[in-house]
Amino acid sequence: MHESPILRTISRFAIPLAVFLSFRIFMQGHDLPGGGFIAGVIAAAAGAMYLLAFGIGRLARFPWWRLSVLGLLCALASGFVPLLQGSTFMDHVVLDYELPLLGHGHLPSATFFDLGVYMIVLGTLMTLFVELGLEDRPWSS
């Protein structure tokens, strides 16, 4: 497709913004509307914009499907922790920590589940975008 300077200029601003928004929505997902799924979709939208503005080249080389698989692993692993601690699979565990500057906080195991969802959504959508845009697919041949 034609490479449009307007699209390129806008996406230089829009993509970092979308990535930040995606991070923000992911983090607030524990207590407020948001979470891994929608944040992953937003990040994938940023990826789609990049593909449209700058062509298929650089992003296509990244093995996106592996990100999905790793996300699945991450989500599964979050369920394993309570199982090994003597509770049931997918029970909720909270990790309390004390950090030098940030002070006291807690990290629920659900965060890692959500992170897994984020990775799966981002990875799957990007795989679709890249695969549908490519002439020669890396797996075939």
């Binding site: 698989v69 599964l76 309570p82 003597g86 049931t88 029970d91 797996w139």
Partner: protein, 516 residues
């Protein structure tokens, strides 16, 4: 030990993820896949022993309580089915080592196989109707993948039809779940059994109508009459070896769900109506399945049509549950035994069909011939499996049909019994057709076209276990008897699922302290 009930679901899930990451290293993938399957097989046999000795085991996921959280329940029936799923799965996996093409392995054959196992195991062990739906979806996802793997043109064409028909089934299923929740206010199977038993009048009739919808869904998955048409077209295109697992397991998941829901769960007055409908459908499935098989001239097609007629036998046993207590017990025992027998024999027949195809280079009876001379071992395996399927003594098929026909006669259902005997004879006829054309006749090739000896070992394991089930039937029948009693009297199941209050664990205590 209860929290480890999740393992039959978790192990395939984790293995699938690992195998996807290992994509591109076929040897490593095969090793990991085999170790995972074999390990889980050992676990589920241990689980069967444990359940048999200590009663029904249940767990609720994520530290919730029973009607709200998702329950995982292992009663005898679920444990038996898990054992079969994993044993047949492991055997088929070893067989596919000799048949799968490198191209298919690169297209994620190994992870997809594990996803299929995950879905099948999950639907056996779950104690929640909506979770059963999810398990079905996972199973279907795996089966779409395995069917499409390698993506040749006929595969894509047939898989599209298979996906379409199953999407309709899934839509009806999720609607059924919604309606059950709307009428009963619960989706937990033990709770459904409890609440539906208390219903009367119009409310009960409403639940019966809703359960009829679910019956259609499971009949579709089980390929019963009149919703069997998708099966004979789609199964023959599944890669050789894997079609053994498809034939052995997938339709039986539908039969298992029918047994679980209509014998254990729906107990409202008037629920027998669904069972009576099933009894009629069973006779028609037997008849139409075997008639379809008679006019086929391709090994895999004949075997696929026979799946339909065999499903008829299993449904007949379930249908008998509408009769008096003794007949119901005998019918469900026969149905369980039929399922077990059929999973083993049907898978082995498909594996033998694969070997025969490898030797003669075709699946068409007109292009085959003389395998008895080329490979005597294969023909012995086929004879044993075919006789077992047709119900000749002393093989497992005879025991299954004997128990079933005795139960049918005790219930006074002469017509269905007659149909089942006729079907049995026709089965024998169509098996002898395969024998005549593929194994006798003049050889179509002078020497076996491909290497097949290694494929015989996993096949022989299945055939031998079928013989074992027929010769030493006593312990198997005893187990089926106990499993049927668990189903017909839901009290033990309800006690195991609904009552236990888990002791606070370390993780839960830390949660209480952790959240502000």
């Amino acid at each position: 030990m209860n929290r480890w009930l999740i393992l039959p679901v978790l192990v395939p899930f984790l293995t699938a993820v690992l195998l996807a990451l290992l994509n591109g290293h076929p040897r490593l993938e095969r090793a990991v896949n085999l170790v995972s399957c074999a390990g889980l097989t050992v676990f589920v046999y241990w689980l069967l022993g444990h359940v048999d000795a200590h009663g029904i085991q249940a767990m609720v996921i994520g530290g919730w309580f029973a009607p709200w959280g998702v329950a995982f329940v292992a009663d005898r029936l679920a444990a038996i089915m898990l054992c079969l799923s994993m044993s047949v799965g492991t055997v088929v996996l070893v067989y596919t080592f000799f048949t799968v093409e490198p191209r298919q392995e690169r297209y994620f054959f190994h992870p997809l196989l594990q996803v299929l196992l995950l879905g099948v195991n999950w639907s056996f062990i779950t104690g929640d109707l909506f979770n059963l739906f999810v398990a079905y979806e996972v199973m279907l996802l795996g089966s779409y993948g395995v069917m499409m793997v390698g993506a040749s043109k006929p595969q894509v064409r047939q898989t599209m039809a298979y996906i379409a028909i199953n999407s309709i089934g899934s839509t009806l299923f999720v609607m059924g779940c919604g309606l059950v929740y709307a009428t009963l206010g619960t989706l937990n199977m033990a709770d459904i059994a409890q609440r539906s038993a208390q219903l009367t009048g119009e409310r009960a009739a409403l639940v019966t109508a809703v359960s009829m919808l679910l019956m259609v869904v499971f009949a579709l998955k089980a390929a019963a009459f009149p919703v069997f048409f998708w099966l004979p077209d789609s199964y023959p295109i599944v890669p050789a070896g894997m079609n053994g697992y498809f034939a052995g397991m997938l339709t039986k998941v539908g039969v298992y769900s029918l047994m679980r829901l209509f014998v254990l769960c729906f107990r409202q007055p008037g629920a027998e109506l669904v069972l009576e409908v099933l009894l009629v459908l069973s006779g028609l499935s037997m008849l139409f399945g075997v008639l379809g098989a008679l006019c086929q001239w391709e090994v895999r097609k004949i075997l696929s049509w026979h799946i339909i007629s065999q499903v008829g036998y299993m449904l007949m046993g379930i249908g008998l549950a509408a009769s008096g207590a003794d007949v119901a017990q005998a019918g469900v025992v026969a149905s369980i035994f039929c399922v077990v027998h059929n999973m083993v024999v049907k898978s082995s027949l498909f594996l033998i069909g694969g070997i025969a195809g490898r030797i003669s280079g075709s699946q068409k009876l007109s292009e085959m011939g003389g395998i008895a001379g080329l490979a005597p071992g294969v023909s012995i395996l086929f004879l044993v499996a075919a006789f077992s399927l047709a119900g000749m003594p002393p093989f497992s098929g005879f025991i299954a049909k004997f128990v079933l026909i005795r139960a049918g006669l005790a219930g006074g259902h002469g017509v269905v019994v007659f149909v089942s005997v006729v079907t049995s004879l026709c089965t024998l006829y169509s098996m002898s057709k395969i024998w005549n054309y593929a194994f006798w006749h003049a050889p179509s090739v002078s020497a076996p076209l491909g290497r097949y000896r290694a494929m015989m070992l996993p096949t022989a394991v299945l055939v031998l276990s079928s013989v074992l089930m027929g010769v030493v039937a006593e312990p198997f029948l005893r187990l089926a008897n106990d499993a049927a009693r668990d189903l017909l009297d839901p009290r033990a199941y309800q006690e195991a699922v609904l009552l236990p209050i888990p002791e606070p664990t370390t993780a839960q205590t830390s949660r209480l302290g952790g959240v502000p």
